[in-house]
């Protein structure tokens, strides 16, 4: 028979500078098969629902993220995985697909059913075809951007109903392995919760003679203590998830926990981790050397002393603010103006690198009922106008298409760039108002694609930085 499916699961615990803790789960299932449409398909670890979807709709890559909350980049540092608040779906289709829009519509409806999310609201009024911002993250022959579709539903809320089908896609479910920790009552009591599904084709092995499908399910959650805890910032698995680990998933070929214990200052260690880790792993992440304590759930010695594993982190000494590292690139976006007639969308992009400048592609998607006036677009850096080297603008059509604005902007070193554009609100018919319109209308988040100069090593483990692009 063709190769075996493989499952690898990882959990990364990174303490945040402000005292919180970010936990990132990653489950990778590799399916050694090249599915053709209409053929018999046999699934072992790869979930049948997604496999059938991918082969029936001719999908080459699929990325779906459901997020609740904002990642506060300035306080927490660069996130391991990025996703905008709400639901984000972007898909590369195979070039054999004849009608991409029809496949996109069916795909979003089927995903809506699989994940119990209102992805069926994705239609032509919030779907765009970006030209430069996205590149395929898996193996690809060529990139015809007509095969790409991108949509964001900023109003979408994530809750237990979305977590349960997400967990059902895992081979071990939530019965064994790291997924045991995923209990809804604790996961949603957090400052940030993001769950994502990524499907892409990868090389089966180093020689890349065969192609496999990789399903990557990631879940990032940030726990913060609030002032009520009086500065006690000790964390443990039980405190975070109200569960401890008792066994690894029998189907997994790798099951590890990484705890970030890197310290700025080598002499003074920041964190104490119990039980003591079996090994320590060092890696360069985002230009910095980081040290990770490794717990391997598949090694038999781990559960010798006690039946369950409860990783505990204790702060040895308080952190001083000088140790907070500001990320090289971060951005902010807000709407200014008053009244219900006009307004202005402002995007601030910060480049904090002391001497390196780098280009950034900004993708903005604005709903059609906020009529942008492109002649009011201004890009100001350090007080001077900054002309973008590439602009792609697709104006909106009422009730059919949103605005699409893509710009390639050079960010000088150590600068703030402000991009503003004015808009006017259109009159909506009374059936077009969203539920609870006094809550406001959401503008989709913009996507920043950047070649950040501090080089990130491509690692096959969970430091999964896609090395070229980060999206905000």
């Amino acid at each position: 028979p063709a190769g075996r499916d493989a499952l690898r699961e990882e959990l990364l615990l990174s303490p945040l500078p402000a005292g919180g803790l970010a936990a990132t789960f990653q489950f990778r299932t590799r399916w050694d098969s090249a599915p053709q449409r209409g053929a018999v398909s046999h699934y072992r670890l790869f979930p049948k629902a997604l496999g059938q979807l991918v082969s029936a709709q001719g999908v080459r890559e699929l990325h779906l993220a459901l997020t609740q909350g904002f990642w506060r980049t300035r306080a927490w540092g660069q996130p391991p995985l990025q996703a905008p608040a709400g639901a984000e779906l972007w898909v590369w289709f195979q070039d054999t697909v004849a009608d991409v829009d029809k496949a996109w519509k069916e795909l979003s409806n089927i995903l809506s059913g699989i994940f119990c999310a209102s992805l069926n609201f994705i239609d032509s009024t919030n779907t765009v075809t970006p030209t430069a911002s996205f590149k395929p993250l898996g193996l690809a022959n060529g990139t015809d951007h007509h095969l790409l579709r991108y949509a964001v539903l900023p109003r979408e809320i994530v809750c237990t109903e979305n977590l349960t089908p997400w967990k059902k896609l895992l081979p071990c479910g939530s019965k064994a392995g790291l997924a045991v920790l995923l209990k809804a009552e604790r996961l949603f009591h957090s400052s940030y919760h993001s769950q994502a599904v990524h499907i892409r084709p990868i090389c089966r092995d180093a020689s890349c003679l065969a192609v496999s499908w990789e399903l990557r399910q990631t879940l990032t959650v940030v726990f913060e203590t609030f002032s009520s805890s009086q500065g006690k910032k000790d964390w443990s698995l039980f405190k975070m998830f109200s569960r401890t680990l008792t066994e690894a998933c029998p189907l997994a070929s790798q099951s590890k926990i990484y705890v970030d214990i890197s310290a700025k200052d080598k002499e003074k260690e920041l964190l104490e981790v119990t039980p003591s880790p079996a090994s320590v792993h060092e890696a360069i992440v985002q230009g910095e050397k980081r040290t990770y304590a490794v717990y391997d759930l598949l090694s038999p010695s781990l559960f010798n002393t006690s039946r369950s594993l409860n990783v505990q982190l204790k702060w040895k000494r308080p952190q001083d603010s000088s140790e907070l590292s500001t990320p090289v690139l971060h951005a902010q976006r807000y709407v200014s103006g008053y009244g219900l007639q006009t307004g202005e969308i402002s995007t601030l992009i910060y480049n904090t690198h002391p001497y390196r400048a780098f280009p950034v592609i900004l993708l903005e998607t604005v709903p059609w009922y906020l009529r942008l006036y492109v002649h009011t677009l201004t890009i100001i850096t350090k007080g001077k106008e900054n002309k973008p080297s590439y602009i792609h603008y697709q104006p909106a059509q009422d009730r059919r298409r949103p605005h699409l604005l893509e710009m390639l902007i050079q960010l000088p070193a150590n600068s703030v760039t402000k991009i503003t554009i004015q808009f006017e609100r259109a009159l909506l018919k009374w059936t077009e108002y969203t539920p609870d319109p006094n809550h406001g209308f959401y503008v989709s988040p913009s996507v920043l694609s950047a070649l950040v100069p501090s080089v990130i090593a491509m690692k096959e483990v969970d430091m999964e930085q896609s090395p070229l692009f980060t999206s905000l």
Partner: protein, 541 residues
């Protein structure tokens, strides 16, 4: 005084006039106004052609089968009405209800053997004769050929007077006279073709329910496509590492069967493995056999919890048939299914119509206590596929069931004199584009490997290696689960004492009366061969 009288008279006249006026008003209101009001306030009724609609409900079904009766030398009965060759037509009309009638029409051609056929009939064994005779037969659609051999011929073993061959032919001993021969011929043609009761069962939707047996009510509307999913449920991956070669099994056993049925519907096959999927029912521990038992009345509760994990198809809208193979946990091994009488079901499987089936696969033997977990288990796909294919046939009751009549209106040997109007247009279009030169009857009896097993099943079921157990948990009727034990193949070719076996056989109920009456005829024992390749049988056994 005169003025007063005159005034009174005028009053009277006035009153009379008034009365007349009132009456005429009333009369006009009733005569003109009432119909006007009625016509203007009645609801609109479209004019329908009631006569045509009533005529739609009529169906007179005509079953025509050309039969060639070939007399070998020495087998000619003395009292033939005419010299050979001659033709005869037997017609029989059955009226199911005032609108539906079935006409069975057998066109019999009596002739004598040609030289090649004589040579073929000189073969040593009847199988050889059958094989040699096959190319010499009339290849027209739906035709049957019956070879009559002398009473004393040694071609058929002693005591056997009828042999039904593989290729729509039969060998019959001549019998004592024409009457006996005719009786045998009629029975043979009915066995190889359709009996009135089978057609009645097929047209069950037109016939009042009281006329049919309980199983005939399992009528269904077939769909344009089916998705068949085989799932392996492993609730205990720590103890059992189960491997099944599903790709090979599907391409070996299931795909050929589905290819033959591909003219009827689109099929797609999938498989998956589900871990930590438990049955919703806790089995009972039985001390005597030190095994766990699932009783028949807890079977309906098994399907629902499992179905949540199975998921529905993301790719198509066709109905899904699920076939599950459950490997019980180490702590609940071995696990057996009990029928309602308390006996263990031979195949350890049960099915639910239109949903699929579940089979419990026990890991062989107790593992030595020092064996390292997980135990490696290789599933015996042959055993599993046998059961699944039988269940596949049972759940959708293919193909010698109602479906043929609904979906193959152009079967050559059976022509309804009015096209079956039950078909939705795509389906009739579907059947007309499929090669209809294959007659439905020949397909069912001859070409399908597993249904030829089922022809074994219905013709000679007590020895057929198709165990079939069915508890119908989700059907509304309380029909008993049917099981049978597989018999060794050596019992295949020999006759059985008829009536005692009739109750035990597992067969479609519309055949039961047919076999019963055959058994009660003068024919002491029947030898019927399964229309299946021996190699296929041996492989599956």
């Amino acid at each position: 005084m005169a003025a007063a009288a005159g005034a009174a008279a005028a009053d009277e006249a006035e009153k009379a006039r008034g009365r007349r006026a009132a009456l005429s008003f009333a009369a006009i209101a009733v005569v003109l106004g009432l119909p006007l009001w009625w016509r203007t306030t009645e609801t609109y009724r479209a004019a329908l052609p009631y006569a045509d609609i009533a005529a739609l409900g009529e169906l007179s079904f005509q079953l025509a089968a050309p039969v060639a009766v070939v007399f070998a030398p020495g087998s000619l009965p003395g009292d033939l009405p005419r010299p050979l060759p001659f033709r005869e037509t037997q017609e029989e009309e059955t009226l199911l209800n005032p609108r539906t009638s079935i006409t069975s029409r057998y066109e019999m051609v009596y002739r004598s053997t040609t030289a090649q056929e004589e040579a073929a009939l000189d073969a040593v064994t009847v199988q050889e004769a059958d094989a040699t005779l096959h190319p010499l037969q009339d290849a027209s659609l739906g035709s049957l050929t019956v070879y009559v051999i002398p009473e004393t011929s040694s071609l058929l073993p002693q005591g056997i007077s009828v042999y039904v061959g593989k290729h729509r032919s039969a060998l019959v001993r001549a019998g004592e006279g024409l009457a006996a021969l005719r009786a045998r011929l009629q029975q043979v043609t009915q066995i190889m073709s359709f009996t009135t009761s089978s057609i009645t069962a097929a047209l069950s939707d037109r016939v009042p329910a009281s006329q049919l047996g309980p199983d005939a009510r399992r009528h269904f509307k077939s769909s344009l496509g089916y998705e068949i999913t085989f799932s392996l449920l492993n609730p205990d991956p720590k103890s059992h590492a189960v491997h099944w070669d599903i790709e090979g099994a599907v391409s070996h056993y299931v795909q050929p069967f589905l290819d033959k049925l591909s003219f009827m519907a689109n099929f797609s096959v999938d498989s998956q493995i589900l871990y930590y999927a438990v049955l919703g029912v806790t089995p009972r521990f039985d001390k005597e056999s030190s095994s766990f038992l699932l009783s028949a009345h807890s079977l309906p509760h098994v399907i629902n919890p499992v179905e949540a994990r199975l998921g529905s198809s993301a790719a198509s809208l066709y109905p899904v048939l699920n076939f599950l193979l459950y490997v019980p946990e180490r702590s609940h091994s071995p696990l057996y299914i009990q029928d309602k009488d308390g006996a263990l079901v031979g195949t350890n499987a049960f099915h639910s119509p239109r949903w699929g089936g579940i089979m419990v696969y026990n890991v062989e033997g107790p593992a030595p206590p020092q064996a390292s977990l997980p135990l490696h288990v290789d599933v015996d796909m042959v055993r599993v596929m046998e059961v699944f294919l039988a269940q596949l046939r049972c759940t959708e009751r293919w193909p010698q069931c109602k479906a043929p009549w609904q979906s193959w209106p152009r079967a050559a040997s059976t022509q309804p004199s009015r096209p079956a109007r039950k078909l939705s247009p795509p389906q009739s279009g579907l059947s007309s584009t499929r090669p209809s030169s294959i007659s439905s009857t020949s397909l069912m009896i001859r070409n399908l490997p597993s249904t030829s097993h089922s022809s074994c099943l219905w013709l000679y079921p007590s020895s057929c290696p198709w165990p079939r157990s069915s508890g119908r948990p989700s059907s509304a009727r309380r029909s008993p689960p049917r099981q049978t034990e597989p018999h060794p193949p050596s019992a295949l070719l020999w006759g059985w004492d008829c009536p005692s076996h009739v109750e035990h056989v597992v067969m479609d109920p519309w055949l039961q009366p047919c076999v019963a009456e055959l058994c009660q005829s003068q024919v002491p024992a029947w030898q019927l061969s399964c229309a299946v390749a021996e190699t296929q049988e041996e492989r599956l056994l």
